[in-house]
């Protein structure tokens, strides 16, 4: 498309927006088809429910943790495993960038929970945006999106009244990896299913080794990944305690006391705290550009190729 509106070349605008995202640290950027999102997302969770005059959604993917992070204790990863804040930071900045550069209304799409709906329903699905934008495909690990080159990413979205040409979803799904297919053929399970500490993942592969079915017990997963849900439970136990000792145990006993610390340092210590399915995923951990070390190596090899 080479659409010009008021002197604005929309293809140049898209390129400029993508360049902004990459400069700020995004590994992947895409524009999902707004009409498809509106058709797939349920009422109340569509982009137009949040921004009535939205014309485009821009989806941003940032890389996961360093290669070294996959080798540390799960206890340590609970504090720093998630890298979503970079995606949100880029999306937030991008909304400002579009307004100032193209004089068109834009907004950071909150990736947060819908405050009306408790702890498990998001306002909008940034996952759906990323999948339709072609920067991730659903995996057997609870539909976590994976990318064939970048592995496991975190996503953010921007809504804008700028009308951009949409991209398309990925042609192929990198999940399951060949080694996972082999394991499934011999044991009936893939690594993510086998090593999930909540045993919340299940699925089937077809004869060709493609995903036939994915089953995800999100409630069990939440017990490992959404520790903030325990906070009111602890307070309720403390209120209901019959004596001061039981009250102290509820508030200060064992790992419960650590929650007060996590609450004070913010979401990095409270959200998405379990990475065991991704730790054993060959796409998340071994995709060609899945961590800074691999990306540096790829850049070095490319530079060496250029100089010869």
């Amino acid at each position: 498309m080479d659409q010009s509106t008021d002197g604005l070349n929309i293809d140049d605008a898209k390129e400029s927006i993508f360049a902004y995202a990459r400069k700020k640290g995004a590994l992947a950027v895409g524009v999902p088809d707004l009409a498809a999102i509106e058709r797939i997302a349920p009422a109340g969770h569509r982009p137009s429910d949040l921004m009535p005059k939205v014309k485009s959604v821009i989806s941003i993917g940032v890389g996961g943790q360093t290669q070294g992070a996959w080798g540390v204790t799960a206890k340590a990863l609970t504090f720093f495993g998630s890298t979503e804040s970079l995606a949100y930071k880029i999306a937030y900045g991008m909304a400002y960038f579009i307004e100032s550069r193209f004089e068109t209304r834009s907004v950071y799409c909150p990736p947060d929970l819908d405050p009306e709906l408790g702890a498990r329903y998001p306002l909008q699905s940034v996952k759906l945006h990323a999948e339709l934008a072609g920067i991730g495909a659903r995996s057997l690990a609870g539909d976590i999106l994976l990318h064939p080159d970048y592995g496991y990413m975190y996503f953010g979205s921007v809504y804008t009244e700028l009308e951009l040409e949409p991209d398309t979803p990925m042609t192929d799904n990198p999940c399951p990896a060949p080694s996972c297919v082999n394991m499934y053929k011999s044991t009936g399970r893939t690594p993510c299913m086998k090593f999930c500490p909540a045993q919340c993942l299940d699925g089937e592969l077809d004869e060709d080794g493609n995903q036939a079915a994915m089953n995800y017990d999100m409630a069990k997963c939440a017990e490992m990944t959404q520790q903030y849900e325990v906070v009111p439970q602890i307070i309720a136990e403390a209120i209901a305690a019959d004596n001061p000792q039981d009250r102290d145990d509820a508030l200060f006993g064992g790992s419960n006391k650590a929650l007060w610390y996590k609450m004070s340092v913010g979401s990095g210590g409270l959200l998405a705290q379990c990475f065991e399915c991704m730790r054993v995923c060959p796409i998340a951990t071994q995709a060609e550009l899945s961590d800074p070390l691999r990306r540096a190596k790829a850049r070095r090899i490319a530079a060496e190729g250029d100089s010869t």
Binding site: A43, R138, A213, Y216, E223, E276
Partner: protein, 105 residues
């Protein structure tokens, strides 16, 4: 939220709890890869498995949205086993979870 205000009774909780939990995002199942393929027919057919909103569940069970939401949110904390989290303390650095070792510590 108030149980009485929304007309939620114990009988209602007992009758609908499992179904509401199953239909909500708490349990998700998908066949094939319909969103990536933009297969709208399959997306629609699988909507129940991939998880419904409170409004959609209410419509299906002939309850009000508020009743469904009340029951779902109560179940989400009642069924939350806060002892599972401690499993993470023993994993990583080469140690993987093994279901067969459950209860042996």
């Amino acid at each position: 939220m108030s149980k009485q205000r929304f007309g939620v009774t114990e009988e209602m909780m007992e009758k609908y709890s499992d179904r509401i939990f199953e239909l909500s995002l708490n349990h998700q199942s998908r066949r094939g890869d319909p969103v990536r393929h933009l297969d709208y027919e399959q997306i629609k057919a699988q909507r129940e498995g991939t998880g419904l909103t409170d409004e959609q569940i209410a419509e299906q069970l002939d309850l009000t949205t508020e009743q469904v939401r009340y029951i779902r949110v109560v179940l989400e904390h009642k069924r939350f086993d806060n002892t599972n989290y401690a499993k993470l303390f023993k994993l990583g650095s080469g140690k993987r979870y093994r279901v067969e070792r459950e209860g042996t510590d």
